[in-house]
């Protein structure tokens, strides 16, 4: 509220009014002069300007005692001690006067303070009141405004509801109309049908009547004139209509129907088979298009191609087998379609992945190593194209050169020389080759000769050998039969062995081969014959083994020959 300064309310003008006195005193019974005096006396603190005048107005030199007695009276009535020293005397009690003055001053101060307080409170209350009044005014305005808004919204709401109701009404009306029209149509339709039927019945009756008339009349005019009978289309004579013919006709009809159905079915089967073939091809192609990711176990998490592919391969195997027999049962069809659907889905996923990769590459974020970036790809293609161009150019130049060589005329010296050069080169080459060839030929002839000689020798040797063997065997046989002749045989054998020294190692081997046979048991004649038969057979591999060693053979045989001659 701020500090409230005590503002002494200036007394109204020095004019003494009766009103003023009535404020202060309850006494109204005063003489006019005394009243005036009292008024003067009871004036509050006068303003500084008129202090002198007031002070002098109340008490002058003449009315000192009167004024003292008056003051005393007033103070005693207020409760103060008397001013006089004693109740009777006219001596003033100074102390009591001073006390009274002090008391009056204190009282005056108290009153002033009280007044100030009251004034402050009064001001505070006034401001509060103002504030509240303002708030009140504002709230009232708001209330008014919101009331108005409410009214407006209510009005709008009402209008919309009206509209809504109208539209509902219209819709209902339309629906009712439609229903009515439909009912009308239905009823009219039935009415028309009924009328039509009635009219038709009447018409039929008329027709019947007319028919009867026409039939009854037996008009001679109804006739057919024909020059001669026309033969039937198929040349046969007409037949009577019997049950058999009827049955035949039925049969014919059913046959025609069946034929048609069979044809239809055949066409459908053919179409079916073609479509199945196409599906199979598609399946194979899709499988081939899909990347072979079944080995990577990681891929399982992505889209589970692995197990599905293996399943599919099984399916493919199965289906291939089954389709070979061209079954058309439900399960096969379902399997085929399902497997194709799965594969198509996988292919789609794959393509989508590739698309994503391509788009990523486009945006510049290359994360996958497998994917070649587009720029690299383009660079490579450019390189390849350049290479191709180079190669083409080279080929062209070479072709041109070739053509020049082939087609150019012989006037040109350089070309002739060139030709000669080439020819010389070729000639030299050819000569070298000829030389080689001749040498080889010579070598081959030498070898052939040696081989023939060796063969001849071998033949001779063989003959001799055979003879020796024959004699040996005879000896053996003889020795087996009689021991006495053994020694002779041995001699002859040693004689032969001496001549046939060359075959020692062979003989030894053979004898080694035969020894176990002979020692183990006394061979019968059959076994001997077998051995005799076996020996030529066994000799042949040995001979062959000998023949295979071509290089050493001529020397060997030369040695043997030499030994023989010796």
């Amino acid at each position: 509220m701020g500090d409230w300064k005590t503002i002494t309310v200036p007394a109204p003008s020095s004019v003494l009014d009766s009103k003023n006195t009535s404020q202060y005193t309850s006494e109204k019974k005063m003489s006019p002069s005394s009243l005036n005096m009292q008024q003067v006396l009871r004036l509050p603190l006068p303003s500084s300007k008129s202090t002198h005048s007031f002070f002098s107005a109340f008490c002058t030199e003449e009315n000192v005692e009167q004024s003292i007695s008056y003051l005393n009276r007033e103070l005693t009535t207020l409760g103060f001690p008397s001013l006089y020293a004693e109740s009777k005397g006219k001596e003033l009690n100074l102390i009591s006067i001073l006390n009274c003055m002090n008391e009056l001053l204190v009282l005056q101060r108290k009153n002033l303070r009280a007044q100030e307080d009251v004034e402050m409170q009064h001001l505070k209350l006034g401001s509060d009141m103002d504030h509240l009044q303002n708030c009140y005014a504002k709230l009232k305005e708001q209330l008014e405004a919101s009331k108005r808004e409410i009214v407006g919204l209510q009005e709008r709401d009402r209008q919309l509801q009206c509209k809504n109701r109208n539209l509902h009404q219209l819709l209902k009306n339309e629906k009712d109309e439609v229903q009515k029209l439909q009912n009308i149509i239905a009823s009219r339709a039935t009415q028309y049908n009924h009328d039509m039927k009635r009219k038709e019945r009447e018409y039929n009756k008329l027709k019947e009547r007319l028919h009867q008339l026409v039939m009854n009349k037996k008009d001679k005019k109804i006739a057919m004139e024909v020059l001669n009978y026309v033969g039937r289309v198929d040349g046969k004579r007409g037949g009577w209509r019997t049950d058999k013919t009827e049955a035949r006709n039925e049969e014919e009809m059913y046959k025609a129907l069946l034929r048609d159905y069979e044809q239809c079915q055949k066409q459908l089967l053919v179409e079916n088979a073609e479509l199945r073939k196409v599906l199979q091809q598609m399946k194979k192609e899709i499988i081939s298009l899909l990347p072979p990711q079944k080995q990577k176990p990681r891929e399982r998490s992505e889209d589970g191609i692995g197990p599905v592919l293996s399943d599919l391969e099984d399916d493919v195997g199965e289906l291939n087998k089954e389709n070979m027999w061209e079954l058309s049962c439900e399960t096969v069809r379902e399997q085929l379609t399902n497997s194709i659907r799965n594969q198509w889905r996988m292919l789609k996923n794959h393509v989508e992945k590739l698309d994503n990769q391509v788009s990523r590459v486009h945006s510049g974020a290359l994360t996958d190593k497998d994917v070649i970036s587009r720029e690299d790809h383009e660079l490579e293609t450019e390189k390849l194209e350049l290479e191709i161009q180079h190669c083409k150019e080279m080929i062209k130049t070479q072709q041109q050169l070739l053509q020049q060589q082939l087609m150019s005329p012989c006037d040109d010296d350089t070309t002739v020389l060139l030709q000669d050069c080439y020819l010389l080169e070729e000639r030299e080459r050819l000569q070298e080759e000829w030389k080689l060839f001749r040498e080889q030929k010579k070598n081959f002839e030498k070898e052939r000769r040696s081989f023939t000689e060796a063969a001849i020798r071998l033949g001779l040797e063989r003959q001799a050998f055979e003879e020796d063997r024959g004699t040996w065997l005879k000896q053996q046989f003889l020795s087996m039969t009689c021991d006495s002749k053994y020694l002779e045989n041995v001699k002859t054998q040693s004689a032969t062995s001496g001549s046939s020294d060359q075959d020692n190692h062979l003989m030894n081997t053979r004898s080694q081969q035969k020894k176990p046979r002979s020692l183990s048991s006394v061979p019968t004649s059959a076994e001997l014959c077998q051995t005799i038969q076996h020996t030529p057979y066994s000799s042949s591999p040995c001979a062959i083994s000998n023949k295979t060693t071509e290089e050493s053979k001529p020397n060997q045989w030369e040695e043997i020959y030499r030994e023989e001659t010796e």
Binding site: E200, K207, R232, T245, A256, L257, D260
Partner: protein
């Protein structure tokens, strides 16, 4: 001669041979040959009965209660069987006869309100039966009378106007009043596609041939006729040729009168080409145009716009060649190689009202009101 009730028959091989059939008081409404060429079926007045006259035996048979509808008699392509629509006690029936001895093979009722027409499939095993135009309903019966399938596209609006079987019996084309053609397949009897006929053609892949009149001064046509006839024909008619129009273009559209019966809207005529490759349709809302659809691709191929209303068109029985007549003195031919407008060289006015191909494929008969002329088409040597 319908008014007098007399049918006269002549033989092409024996000019002396002559036959005259007199129906007398029974009257005559329609007459047709049987497929073996030895019987004549006469429909008497008020569709009282059908009389079957035999030329071999001079015998007569009667069939009662035939139905009075647009297409009541249908013969199979091989000529063995005949289907006849009948109506008794306000119900529709179908009778199947064996043509060789006219024995009644099957007789069954149909689930139609008012049968409008029947047609055999070219393989002779399926019979298509369609209902009145007030209801879109087509029923398919097998040769032995069993109902194979029913097809309904929509309710309440006007229904089927015309149908056509494809020569291989694979497809059944149904033209209806809603300007659409629906194609059913023979395996499931369900719709495989619809062809719409909007008056504005926007797709640039479609070729539009428009008939335009050639200016009369350009008379340098290489005709092999004497010039007098040429002059005469040129007096009566202006020659025309085909121009390729730019797409998008709009066709002449006629708004039908709404409150008359049998309005001229919808697909009135359909015809498949003999090699099963093309389907020619005519939308009666745009009566000057013929729409040719490619059946292998199931798309619109060519649109031909004529100067006058198309009266009739027919495919050559051997090749995909379409002959069109529009009531003037020209005949128009279209094939995948192109199209041509040919003037009929006749003295005087010859209005071609309808045409008919010979089964051999190189000849056609052009019919006007009182006359007809034969047109021979030269076959080009392919070297």
């Amino acid at each position: 001669m319908y008014k007098r009730g007399i049918v006269q028959v002549w033989s092409l091989e024996q000019p002396d041979w002559h036959c005259k059939i007199d129906e007398g008081s029974a009257g005559l409404v329609a007459s047709c040959w049987s497929p073996d060429g030895r019987h004549i079926l006469n429909t008497t007045e008020f569709h009282l009965r059908i009389t079957v006259w035999s030329l071999c035996t001079k015998s007569v048979s009667y069939i009662k209660y035939p139905k009075a509808c647009q297409q009541g008699i249908a013969f199979t392509k091989d000529g063995h069987y005949m289907a006849l629509a009948e109506r008794r006690d306000c119900k529709d029936f179908i009778s199947l006869f064996v043509c060789s001895d006219w024995q009644l093979l099957r007789h069954f009722d149909t689930e139609t309100q008012d049968l409008a027409g029947i047609e055999w499939a070219p393989n002779g095993c399926v019979l298509a039966v369609w209902d009145t135009c007030l209801e879109y309903k087509i029923l398919l019966y097998s040769l032995d009378g069993r109902l194979l399938s029913t097809y309904r596209a929509y309710e309440w609006s006007l229904g089927i106007k015309s149908i056509a079987w494809s020569p291989s019996s694979q497809f059944l084309a149904i033209g209806s009043y809603d300007e659409k053609v629906r194609i059913l397949n023979h395996v499931t009897w369900k719709k495989i596609t619809e062809f719409e006929h909007p008056p504005i053609i926007a797709n640039p892949k479609i070729i539009v041939y428009k008939e335009v009149e050639k200016s009369a001064t350009v008379e340098t046509q290489k005709l092999s006729f004497p010039p007098t006839r040429e002059l005469a024909s040129s007096l009566f008619s202006i020659p025309s040729k085909y121009d390729i129009s730019q797409v998008p273009m709009s066709l002449q559209y006629i708004k039908p009168v709404a409150d008359r019966a049998n309005p001229r809207i919808g697909i009135g005529t359909l015809a498949f080409s003999p090699d099963n490759c093309f389907l020619a349709t005519k939308n009666d809302n745009t009566p000057n145009a013929i729409w040719i659809w490619d059946i292998q691709k199931l798309k619109l191929f060519v649109v031909l716009e004529q100067l006058c209303t198309v009266n009739s068109f027919q495919w050559d029985p051997r090749q995909p060649r379409l002959a069109i007549c529009t009531g003037n003195s020209k005949v128009y031919l279209w094939s995948p190689a192109g199209c041509v407008s040919v003037q009929v060289p006749m003295e005087g006015d010859f209005q071609v009202l309808s045409l008919c191909w010979h089964s051999g494929g190189d000849t056609m008969a052009l019919l006007s009101k009182d006359n007809f002329c034969l047109c021979y088409l030269e076959r080009e040597e392919v070297k």
